[in-house]
């Protein structure tokens, strides 16, 4: 039977406020264990929370960027459960009156745009981190690092509008881009500042009733989201295909083994005993303040993609890749602003620059070649000073040294030879040395000329103008 996959995502993102949600401790990642703590975030007897106003501002900004309605009256609730990484044994979160509701974002998959509903955005505090000695199963004890306790989180819940693992990945990528654009989160999945859980169920194609869902936790990379959901789709299809029933349960994605494993069934599900947080007053937002935040929202990914297509004639694909991350979009704009041709800048960003970043495991923020420097290289290429091949050599030198393209070209004598007189002698030498290839060419084998061009380039250390070489070879054979 053909099944339709129905997925809804719950995404947690850490906000990049300087201080925690209910106390003045730093949120900085990577500090020595248990140094960003105080009586409040340690949940000592007698302490009280005070809401960080920046968290509300960031939540409202996020709600607006996701086309949500901002609730004028919202409140915090306690979610009660025991876990050693939670000092108070309750998490202060939002239950029935979240800060933002009823939004959406658009994703493009397979050339089609789909709108995914956002149910709600709510604020809450993060828990600490358990550190196990050795492996989690064999460890005799666990230590707790409370640095992360009280770091502000937004939970962003989608409607069950996602229909494939690929769409889930696209949704997450778009969400990450938006959160980065509006500058509320670093969205570093490897540091846990963007985390994802999924609700997934299958139903026969054409059926409108939802099937029984499983909740998949620990989908903590884009790849894990896609792989985990693909695995779970296949698993549930197998169960249903054999006439079985999917059990409502919580499962966890085991990235190493590439499988989802059952954590607990519905019967074992927690009763969180939510009730209004008596230590905090309700949040009443001023509509004028909300409008002010709306007015100051930056250009969002969709708008930016449209602008790149319209202003520079980039394809939807190119503009999509360039605008998928805020850093690349800004790098692109800066390169173009420094005088580079937009199309060439896009090609460099998507090609050589991305390749180098990946190889070095670096983020664009740490790129040793500045946008102005890339624009300089693109300029030299456009003038014909360096060939495309040579430009890559120059780029590698720029990457390694941080120097400008012009300086490297000058130092290394990499200027392209476009003087026919200087190339002719080499061409003649290559023709004389490769009679077989010359014969092949004359016999109609077009491919042979490629080899000969290559030999000339080799002799000139890549500096000869390839078009000129081609022309001279044809003339002189």
């Amino acid at each position: 039977m053909d099944y339709e996959v129905v997925v809804g995502l719950e995404v947690h993102t850490e906000l990049k406020t300087a201080t925690k949600i209910f106390c003045g401790c730093s949120t900085k990642f990577g500090a020595a264990q248990n140094t960003n703590v105080c009586p409040v975030c340690l949940g000592l007897p007698g302490v009280l929370p005070v809401l960080n106003a920046r968290v509300v501002e960031f939540a409202v900004r996020t709600g607006l960027a996701l086309n949500c309605r901002i609730l004028p009256f919202s409140k915090f609730d306690r979610k009660n459960y025991y876990y050693p990484d939670l000092p108070k044994n309750f998490q202060t979160s939002q239950y029935d009156l979240p800060i933002a509701v009823d939004g959406h974002l658009d994703i493009a998959v397979g050339g089609q745009t789909r709108r995914i509903g956002i149910t709600r955005v709510h604020m809450e505090e993060d828990a600490g981190k358990l550190v196990h000695a050795g492996s989690i199963t064999k460890s005799e004890y666990a230590l707790v690092d409370y640095n992360r306790t009280g770091v502000p989180l937004l939970e962003i819940v989608s409607e069950p509008d996602i229909r494939s693992a690929e769409e889930a990945k696209a949704y997450l990528e778009k969400l990450k881009a938006i959160l980065q654009y509006i500058d509320v989160s670093d969205c570093k999945m490897e540091e846990g500042s963007l985390r994802c859980d999924a609700n997934i169920s299958l139903r026969p194609k054409g059926e409108t009733k939802l099937g029984t869902k499983a909740e998949i936790k620990n989908l903590n990379s884009f790849k894990a989201v896609q792989k985990g959901l693909e695995y779970e789709t296949a698993r549930q299809a197998d169960v249903l295909g054999e006439g079985g029933r999917v059990i409502q349960e919580t499962r966890t994605w085991d990235d190493a083994c590439g499988v989802t494993v059952s954590l607990r069934s519905k019967e074992e599900a927690h009763d969180y005993r939510y009730f209004p947080e008596p230590d905090l007053v309700p949040i009443v937002v001023d509509p004028a303040w909300v409008e002010d935040i709306r007015r100051h929202l930056p250009e969002l990914p969709d708008a930016r993609q449209g602008r790149l297509m319209k202003d520079y004639g980039l394809s939807a694909y190119e503009a999509g890749v360039i605008t998928a991350g805020r850093a690349m979009a800004e790098y692109f704009d800066a390169t173009v602003a420094a005088g580079a041709d937009a199309k060439a800048a896009a090609n460099w960003l998507m090609g050589e620059l991305s390749r180098q970043l990946n190889a070095a495991g670096k983020e664009l923020e740490d790129c040793p070649v500045a946008p102005g420097q890339l624009a300089g290289l693109i300029g030299l290429q456009a003038q014909g000073t360096v060939s495309g091949k040579l430009a890559k050599t120059v780029f590698e030198a720029m990457w390694a040294s941080g120097k400008d393209a012009a300086a490297i070209v000058k130092e290394q004598g990499l200027v392209q030879i476009s003087d026919a007189g200087a190339i002719e002698a080499v061409v003649d030498k290559v023709i004389a040395a490769n009679p077989q290839s010359v014969d092949d060419f004359k016999a109609g084998k077009e491919r042979a000329i490629g080899f000969l061009v290559g030999q000339v380039m080799k002799e000139t250390k890549g500096r000869a103008n390839p078009e000129l070489v081609n022309k001279l070879l044809r003339e002189r054979m």
């Binding site: 340690l42 007698g46 005070v50 025991y82 707790v144």
Partner: protein
Amino acid sequence: MELNKLTAHELHGRLTAKEVSAAEITAAVFARIDAVEDKVRAYITQTRDQALAQARAVDDKIKRGEAVAPLAGIPGALKDNMCVKGVRTTCASQILANFVPPYDAAVVEKLAAQNAVVVGKANLDEFAMGSSCENSSFFATRNPWDTAAVPGGSSGGSAAAVAAAEAVWALGSDTGGSIRQPAAYCGVVGLKPTYGRVSRYGLVAYASSLDQIGPITRDVADCALVLGAIAGHDGRDSTSVDAPVPDYAKALIPDVKGLKIGLPKEYFVAGMDPAVEKAVYAAIDQLKALGAEYKEVAMPHTEYALAAYYLVATAEASSNLARYDGVGFGHRGEGNDIIAMYKRSRTEGFGEEVRRRIMLGTYALSSGYYDAYYLKALKVRTLIKQDFDKAFGEVDVLVAPIAPTTAFKVGEKMDDPLAMYLQDVCTVPINLAGLPAISLPCGFAAGLPIGLQIIGRPLGEETILRAAYAFEQANDYHRRLAPLGEV
């Protein structure tokens, strides 16, 4: 006259007149503690060295000719659920028996700013849950008027210390009557301020939406003085009220002419001791004779207050006390896994009444019961507030009993939790509504004090202080000392 038997305002006069030193006053209080503490047992922890150092610092100030605050050099006690940096804060619980806070409660900072002297941490029912001080996991405090009787609770140690002249003033906390009822039983003055008037930062929470810190003193003037020292907005408590603190001493006018007092009939519950009822009516007659206008008011939802209170308070407590799990601080029981460790820590650490309230509250918040219990209790709370709003449309203050009886015997109600809960029937509605109320002596029955309750509008502390002061000055109850006091 023994110095420890004087009031704070009297002692302040003598200090600034350089007739006595703060060190002498503090020494007199400790001498008194040495003489009677084995009978009263008001203190869990005494802080002698710190207290004497604080007193000497005040004496130095006075010697240098510097002005000192009204509470400077005056020794008092803190209920042992208020955090003092470096001083064991136990909540009378085994689970916090060795807990030393790394920070000061807001009220402790305020008292330090006044150069007040803190002589120790007073006993209470464990985590402020109880009405007799018998639920302390360490020992039961006794009533200075009759050591076979309870001092009331939960701030029983604070009230007994003041009544036995083991402290000049004390702070208590009141969630459902825990300042007013022990003040009534011990024949002293106790005031529960408007919710939010005093910062709760550093008060170990029992029920967050009801808890409030307030003074316990020997007369109304001292009550005004201590309230003035601890009241005020605090950015660390989101429920703190941002309103200026009046000079409460200015409210001490011995005149109630034109003051409209109301009597809610519903507070005279079945089973009330006729002597208590008589004393409260006599007090109303006296206030009328002093010029107050009187009328009866209807408070139709009063009968549901106790049930609503025991749902709201226990629900909040079940969550507030979840942090005592043996992980980060407090008592840790042995266990082979985390769940076993939680269970052992909490079973060993909490007493019976605390466990009972945690279970009640957990039940009230559980899925399937929330609407029927917790949510309904919140609705009743709103109706009770509306009763008060309506009453305060007609009168300026309400007058009522504090408790149905005078102090009962130690052990009398320990096997009957419901009978113990009924002790709070006249006090819990005020906490549910967040209002200020004062308790002061209005007579005696069989040698035990009877308390009068005067309830005010939100932030109406000045009005209830004025009414209380007028009543007090027309009588001499505040000058009587517990028989223990004459030992």
